[in-house]
């Protein structure tokens, strides 16, 4: 026995195990939560399709599971999304992701890097126009918005390590979206 003395009243969670009904509540909670933790991780299959109704309330509530990190292989590309904003006078400015430092700022930077990782994909084309419009507002000179913003992805293939080392690869570039200012 630790704590103050043997007469110390147990907390509500611990008090549950002192009664029959409480033990039953604990058993139900443990079983339900265990299913909610394990179930959503079961690989896609006809079986899963049949039983996922059991844990869908948890997933809908925000208790989600997806732990595939660097899998099945780590991404074999290093990437960067930039935007080139063109103003009415013909001048241009390049927008890049904000950087916030490597210690505490790294936690902030990572959210922007995640945006970059996802927004470059053709499957996420729905985000392109609004992203370019936001960048236009971000680089505006006072009230003057750029007339055009071009979204560009730059990437470099990462070759696997071999016994003779690694091979340097060139940077590729592709303009994947153009946003034009609409006046009116």
């Amino acid at each position: 026995m630790s704590g103050l003395d043997a007469t110390e009243r147990p907390d509500a969670h611990t008090a549950l195990i002192h009664t029959r009904v409480g033990k039953a509540v604990v058993a139900v909670l443990v079983v339900v939560m265990s299913v909610w933790i394990v179930g959503p991780n079961i690989p896609a299959s006809p079986v899963r399709d049949k039983v996922d109704v059991v844990w869908s309330p948890a997933v809908n509530a925000g208790f989600e599971q997806n732990w595939s990190v660097f899998s099945p292989n780590p991404r074999a590309q290093t990437l960067k999304v930039v935007a080139v904003a063109e103003f009415g006078d013909g001048t241009t400015t390049e927008w890049t992701l904000p950087e916030f430092g490597q210690t505490i700022g790294a936690y902030r930077s990572y959210r922007w890097r995640k945006w970059q990782e996802r927004v470059r994909l053709d499957s996420n084309a729905r985000y392109w126009d609004s992203s370019a419009a936001w960048i236009a507002r971000d680089v505006a000179r006072g009230d003057e918005l750029p007339v055009r913003v071009r979204l560009i992805r730059r990437w470099r293939e990462i070759t696997p390590l071999t016994a003779s080392g690694i091979v340097d690869t060139k940077v590729n570039e592709f303009e994947f979206h153009v946003w034009d200012r609409v006046d009116g």
């Binding site: 630790s2 147990p10 907390d11 969670h13 989600e64 790294a106 071999t162």
Partner: protein, 310 residues
């Protein structure tokens, strides 16, 4: 004719009593609340860090005119409440800061953990494009910790109930809630291991590729390591081995201290070189759920018993 009824009944009784004893030890046998209290404080600090680093980007990432507009907020699942304006996002972030401080201090932590879960879901569903595994783990831990007596020790609640002197004592608590966080931890490790089925993991070079993804490196790529075939093989297969061991062998009491140490080392190493958000710190907090509460109690009792300098 051999009568097998009696031996079968005996075997059944013995198995049942062993099962009852194991279940009792696993879910009901009380132990000191120290590890849980330490986990609560560290978790509160992570929530505080997550929220304050998000607060500086509220307008850009969560506001009405954010990088990802309102129409792209996650449509899946139940929306506890949608953050449909910059003001609403600020309120959610403000309450999360208050919740994190309450959790750190141990003032009604169960209630604040539930509030934290609900608000994290609301904030994270506002902008699903920036989500990472650490974000999901943060809200899962918030909900699971709400099933535990996190305020039983090192808390304002204990101080208010038993006075200041009680702050350095911890009551015994039932461990059934703790098993849920341990299960979540093992599930993360197992499926992280299971999903790494690619050729780069099999041939022992995956870690070299990870460290060369420039856009997720933290303190720069460790060049001395990325080209060393032997070390990279050791690190790649070592990662798989540690993830598998943390799934299974953590339950073996004698191996636990070594495995907790290896787990800490793995996450520390990843965090130094790779951006993974709050995933690493949270997994380390999860590993603390396996800490030996009785050992901690003995250490603290010994320190308390030592005569204080005049």
């Amino acid at each position: 004719m051999v009568d097998i009824a009696a031996p079968t009944a005996t075997l059944f009784e013995r198995t049942r009593s062993q099962f009852d004893a194991a279940t009792h030890a696993l879910f009901l046998r009380k132990r000191p609340a120290w590890p849980l209290a330490i986990m609560r404080i560290l978790f509160g600090l992570v929530v505080f860090g997550w929220t304050t680093t998000m607060a500086v980007d509220v307008a850009s990432l969560l506001g009405s005119d954010a990088l990802v507009p309102l129409e792209f907020a996650s449509q899946g699942g139940w929306n506890w409440f949608a953050l449909e304006s910059t003001g609403a996002a600020w309120v959610a972030i403000g309450v999360l800061v208050i919740a994190s401080v309450a959790i750190i201090l141990g003032w009604r932590p169960t209630e604040w953990l539930v509030v934290t879960f609900v608000l994290l879901v609301a904030v994270q569903r506002r902008n699903p494009v920036i989500l990472n595994s650490g974000d999901v783990l943060l809200r899962n831990f918030a909900l699971i910790l709400a099933f535990m007596p996190t305020g039983a020790a090192l808390s304002v609640d204990r101080w208010r109930r038993h006075g200041r002197g009680a702050l350095w004592t911890a009551p015994d608590i039932a461990p059934w809630g703790l098993r849920l966080i341990q299960l979540q931890l093992c599930v993360v490790y197992f499926f992280a291991f299971w999903s790494k089925g690619g050729d780069l993991w099999h041939n022992g070079t995956a870690v070299s590729t990870v460290f060369r993804i420039d856009d997720i490196t933290r303190f720069g790529s460790p060049g001395w390591l990325t080209t060393n075939v032997v070390l990279i093989g050791l690190f790649t297969w070592g990662t798989l081995a540690i993830e598998l061991a943390l799934t299974t062998l953590l339950w073996a009491r004698r191996l636990r201290p070594v495995l907790i140490g290896l787990g800490f080392l793995l996450h520390f190493f990843i965090d130094v070189f790779v951006l993974v958000g709050f995933f690493g710190p949270l997994m380390m907090i999860g590993l603390l759920s396996f800490a030996d509460a009785d050992w901690l109690e003995r250490r603290i009792a010994t320190r308390r018993a030592r005569p204080q300098p005049a």
